[in-house]
Symmetry: C2
Subunit: 106 residues, 2 copies
């Protein structure tokens, strides 16, 4: 009945892995595992839901289209309001970066 | 714009500390810091919302009123459906236990 967020990391390090932990009507909780991946240069996420995200291992940089950049280390969390364009400009190439993201609407 | 979940731990170790990180209509994200506290013997949480909870430091035991007990170590997560009576029967007395809880409705 319990699972561990740091275990069963995906083997394939050539891509990023997204796994839903909870899907309900109003909330989705997702584990993201990155192995050095970043968004394409011209790619911006433009999400209809708010996102609260925390880095629990590794590190990753979130860039907003107003130029602001935040590098999240273990424990750092950030809220990304809906339709706030952003991309991931860097993730650690030395270790797995484990993100926990909660998507929710108003 | 970022905060760190593992920093600014409360000084007062004689009680448990609850801090809302996100409050929206349909979701609430909370950090709980326990210093060995546990629920009273005859106390059961009976919540109107579902709860997804993960332990990110220390350890804690969640007991359900059907007798099941789960000790959560770092990274372990558990879903507690609404109105599933439960209590915290133990938290670490050796270090702070940091819980991250997401409360949501259907």
């Amino acid at each position: 009945m319990t699972s561990n967020l740091f275990e069963k990391l995906p083997d394939d390090k050539t891509k990023e892995h997204f796994e839903d932990l909870i899907t309900a009507n109003n909330v989705r909780i997702e584990r993201i595992v990155s192995y050095g991946q970043k968004s394409s240069e011209d790619f911006w996420y433009d999400q209809s839901e708010h996102e609260w995200v925390i880095v629990l291992a590794g590190n990753g940089t979130v860039e907003f289209n107003n130029g602001q950049k935040y590098t999240l280390e273990q424990g750092d969390h950030l809220t990304i309001p809906a339709h706030t364009k952003h991309r991931v400009s860097h993730t650690s190439t030395e270790q797995a970066t484990i993100w926990l993201a909660v998507f929710y609407s108003d």
